[in-house]
């Protein structure tokens, strides 16, 4: 963001101490004034040769903000929802502002949200995790108990399988945030689910695991025991601090590489059984309706997907120049192996640079330098994961699944760049 001019009559210190709302009004006023040259209140430039006011003042001291927050100028970097998508906000989703994020880790306040009965605010001293069913010794654990178990820390993405679900039929929404923002990635810390299951003793008839939340939806899903013993985590920390309430405080499940819905938040109960439960969330929802009228169930895996995050509809180009195309790729199958980028709608491709770290079941960053000549362009990215799976086009997916399956749209995104640098969400033949 360029340096904003100081609104007339407002000192830098006053500005810094204003509330968001007040600041918004002040900024709007300042910018509006800036657009009217000749106005008596035209702001004074704060860049060379001038020495800006913040360089000639004493700023607030330490613990002015005991828990830090982003710069006031970043007030537009927020989660957003699509009001017409759901009946209300309690059973709904919000999208991470991918257009403003620069790394593979999603800041905690910007991690996308999916609630089914709103966000419970849970007292951790009152929270319990019960593990029972086909076990040797049913157990109740407090948060203090859980934190005592051997700790593991892993970086993993979580993606709602409905990410991109609004685009099965056609391009609808001109936005990176709304078409792709139901993915976020964090460093999670907790205990392996296998450690807890071994602690209670798994009876040999057990094959499936019910996981359930403490929210009003009592959200529940069935998971195969093998996955639970493989790499699932019961976590209490996200990017080094306690989970945010929106992400399941004080305790959530992380099921690496599998659809977001099974990563139960506010986790309170784990029950072992011999069959799946066929809960509402795995029958009437999170199943994929095919053109022949059949539906696929238990489609947990997040297939490989990538998207260009710059340029994008929210971040257009400012004239012909050398640019760096930037994006993110991920796969529930493990690691990203390669990302290719096309600027001509998929006719020719170049391999992008992957940025370290390239971690299993985590967001991976890619970039490619691009000399834009001001001509119309169709930008695409295509990921290939370590199993050799290649991200499909939307046409490929529709051939297999029609356009009513809602979930698991991992198709290649096309951004149309117009000569004026504006960017639009389009789909190709």
């Amino acid at each position: 963001m360029s340096v904003l001019p100081k609104p007339a009559g407002v000192s830098a210190q006053q500005l810094g101490r204003r509330s968001f709302l007040g600041l918004g009004a002040a900024l709007t006023g300042g910018l509006a004034l800036g657009l009217k040259p000749g106005n008596a209140a035209e702001p004074v430039p704060a860049f060379p040769p001038a020495d800006p006011p913040w360089s000639q003042a004493l700023g607030p001291g330490v613990v002015d903000r005991p828990y830090g927050r982003p710069a006031d100028f970043e007030a537009g970097v927020i989660r957003r929802n699509v009001p017409w998508l759901t009946a209300g906000t309690q059973s709904s989703i919000s999208f991470s502002p991918l257009q403003d994020l620069h790394g593979i880790i999603t800041p905690n306040g910007l991690f996308f949200e999916r609630h089914h009965a709103g966000r419970p605010d849970i007292d951790p001293d009152q929270h319990r995790l019960m593990i029972h069913g086909l076990v040797e010794r049913p157990l109740i654990l407090t948060m203090k108990d859980i934190v005592r178990f051997p700790q593991v820390t892993r970086i993993h993405f979580i993606e709602c399988p409905a990410n991109g679900g609004m685009e099965w039929r056609a391009s609808q929404i001109n936005s990176l945030q709304f078409n792709h923002g139901m993915i976020s990635c964090a460093e999670w810390t907790g205990v392996r689910l296998s450690t807890l299951l071994e602690e209670v003793g798994i009876k040999k008839e057990a094959k499936w695991v019910l996981v359930e939340g403490a929210d009003g939806a009592h959200m529940n899903r069935s998971l195969p025991l093998d996955k639970c013993l493989d790499d699932c985590l019961v976590v209490y920390a996200q990017n080094g601090e306690a989970l945010r309430p929106e992400q399941g405080y004080p305790l959530r499940l992380v099921v690496p590489g599998w659809e977001g819905n099974v990563n139960i938040k506010w986790l309170r109960r784990i029950k072992l059984g011999d069959k799946p439960w066929y809960s509402r969330e795995e029958t009437s929802k999170y199943t994929d309706l095919m053109p022949d009228g059949t539906s696929r169930g238990f489609t947990w895996l997040i297939d490989a997907k990538s998207v260009i995050t710059f340029p994008c509809p929210e971040k257009p180009l400012a004239g012909p120049s050398l640019y760096e195309i930037r994006g993110l790729a991920w796969t529930g199958n493990g690691k990203v192996k390669r990302v290719d980028v096309s600027t001509d709608g998929g006719v020719n491709w170049q391999t992008a640079r992957l940025h370290e770290p390239v971690l299993s079941k985590a967001l991976t960053k890619f970039t490619l330098p691009w000399q834009w000549d001001g001509q119309p362009a169709l930008l695409q990215s295509r990921v290939i994961d370590e199993t050799g799976y290649v991200q499909p086009t939307i046409a490929d997916l529709r051939k297999q699944r029609g356009s009513n399956s809602v979930y698991h749209n991992n198709s290649i995104q096309t951004w149309q760049v117009k000569p004026d640098g504006s960017v639009f969400d389009v789909q190709l033949a």
Partner: protein, 222 residues
């Protein structure tokens, strides 16, 4: 190879690592407390979809369900389950699953009747979930099944009758993931005739992109 001192040191490290890294035996850590039957009963609410395992005692009629529904559900789902606004329809859609615009409801889509009991019991009514008696949840289940013409008006829902209700879409789910179902190849050059690259749809100008989500939102519309 190893000096005895080195060896014992290594073994010591291995033993310590083993003691903390794996819990081969149940109760290895000994944290927490054994859950009592009463504690388990309070939280053990799940009813399994395909066979109704876990359905509680109690029963409910379609007639009673009519009353409870009007009181607890109709504001969002409509008096006859037709749905208000964007809240879900609970009836209709029979035979639409292959249509261009399929209607997925309890009657047209849900494979198992006990799942309906389980879901109402755990998640409804939305402002006060898990506050209805088992009898009332059975009654609501009976009423919604009756609205979908899946049970007669004299139907009584209970732990024995619900698993026997054959839902129309029961046998149309495939519970094994068939993916990967696409086989794209990563072609690099001249992968298509440039003349064939055509835009089939665009989000430009269709007015569906949200412009703001609140007073703090400085997002600029295109």
């Amino acid at each position: 190879m190893f000096s005895s001192r080195k060896l014992s040191l290594l073994l010591g490290i291995a033993a310590a690592a083993g003691a903390f890294a794996s819990a081969a035996e149940p109760g290895h850590f000994g944290y927490g407390k054994t859950a009592t039957p009463a504690e388990i009963a309070g939280w053990d609410i799940d009813a399994r979809g395909d066979d109704g395992l876990g359905l509680p005692p109690g029963k409910g009629t379609v007639e009673r369900g009519t009353e409870v529904f009007a009181d607890q559900c109709a504001a969002c789902h409509g008096t006859f389950g037709e749905g208000e606004g964007r809240f879900p329809k609970l009836v209709g859609g029979a035979g639409t699953l292959k249509n261009d615009r399929p209607e997925l409801t309890v009657g047209s889509y849900w494979p198992f009747a006990p799942t309906l009991f389980d879901y109402i019991n755990r998640a409804m009514p939305m402002p006060a979930p898990h506050t209805l008696s088992a009898d009332d949840v059975y009654a609501l289940t009976a009423y919604i099944l009756n609205l979908n013409d899946l049970v007669p008006s004299e139907f009584v829902a209970d732990r024995d009758s619900l698993p026997k209700v054959k839902m129309p879409n029961r046998d149309h789910f495939i519970w094994t993931d068939p993916r990967p179902d696409t086989t794209s190849k990563p072609c690099m050059n001249a992968c298509a005739d440039p003349a064939s690259v055509k835009i089939m749809s665009t989000a430009e100008g269709n007015g569906l992109t949200p412009r703001t989500t609140g007073p703090l939102d400085t997002m600029q519309p295109k």
